[in-house]
């Protein structure tokens, strides 16, 4: 694997701020819902895993759609399909890991504040609301990361197939 392209693609991803930040928020909500869904009934688990699969697939397709011009240009200047794939994977990894770290950090902060001020998070108040909304236990948190990573794979394969079909000439014709 060309680590150089993978790392550069992460930097590249953050240049598309609006899309990346929007999906970081969406993925963060997804982690919470999948994590909380895993603590519920089998039906809820299935539902949230299906939602996670749909979001991950839509996101991968959107990246390949938004990056069509860039992919065609990069192919014109000698990038191969596997190089392009790393570019797509990089953006997906950036978004899903950043969202995970965001939820991880928020959970730690909320629990930390509660512990520092010896606030009972079972009692009423803002902290209780935040705790119920955001905080995930370590087990479901890491399990949701695992599931979301796995559910991302079909979307990435689909994105790769779409990217492979983009001919270099696309860049020239669309200008």
């Amino acid at each position: 694997m060309n680590l150089k392209i993978f790392l550069k693609s992460m930097k590249f991803a953050f240049r598309a701020r609006k899309r990346v930040f929007a999906f970081i928020v969406i993925y963060a909500i997804l982690y919470i819902q999948v994590g909380k869904g895993l603590e519920q009934s089998a039906q809820a688990q299935t539902l949230w895993l299906l939602v996670a699969f749909s979001v991950a697939t839509v996101y991968a397709i959107l990246i390949s759609q938004f990056r069509r011009r860039d992919i065609a240009i990069l192919k014109c200047v000698s990038w191969s399909n596997s190089d392009v794939m790393l570019l797509l994977i990089g953006e997906v990894v950036v978004v899903s890991l950043t969202a995970f770290l965001l939820i991880f950090q928020l959970s730690v902060e909320i629990l930390g504040v509660a512990a520092y001020f010896t606030i009972d998070i079972e009692g009423p108040g803002l902290l209780r609301t935040l705790h119920d909304l955001i905080v995930l236990q370590p087990g479901p948190m890491f399990l949701s990361l695992f599931y979301i990573v796995i559910l991302q794979i079909p979307g990435l394969v689909l994105a790769q197939v779409r990217a492979m079909k983009i001919p270099p000439m696309k860049a020239i014709r669309e200008e």
């Binding site: 014109c76 200047v77 001919p167 200008e175």
Partner: protein, 228 residues
Amino acid sequence: MPNPIIQVQGVNKEYGRGKKTVAALKDINIEINPGEFVAVVGPSGCGKSTLLHVMAGLEAPTNGRILLDGVDVTLISERDMPKVRAQKIGFVFQSFLLIEDLTAYENIEAVLWPSLEYRKEKQEAMALEVLREVDMLERKDHFPRQMSGGEQQRVAIARALVNNPPILFCDEPTGNLDSKTGEGVLKIIAGLNRDRKMTVVLVTHNEELVKYAKRVLRMKDGAIVSDK
């Protein structure tokens, strides 16, 4: 007599099917020697850009052979084509085709990212060197939207040079520029032909730019009608 660096043998290119077939190129035969500066001129729609795209391996001919530096690109799979593009071809487009989210420097360096041949420091040096060559070093951290058309085209030229390919294909490189800026861009391209001994194939409909070329191919209705 050197071996031709570009050989186009019996190339036809057709678009569409059945009764709607349009012949964009008709039995083209050309040989271009290393270090030549060839201009391909003709009216709009005569097939000159198609010829360039076919020569550069961006489009497959309907039939015929294209040899670049002895390599028959019509036999090369899409999987192996990137290597040929990286080693043999630089391409300058009319609409610059820079990536909007990358700076001038990154647009150039991106060509080298897939290569495992060069270390990071070497890649940086190569990208900076070509930026210096087109006099764009001071604008290296600017995004395409922050640059004028002429500056974007100079960055595009630098991008085409960074791999040090022996062949430079230019598709209407001054088409989106005013005449003064276009003249400046053409001088850079002519300088590359003179100083680096690059083989340049320039497609243009602008007769004034023909003066930079040592050889002029005139096209009409998909065929070459003169070669001087």
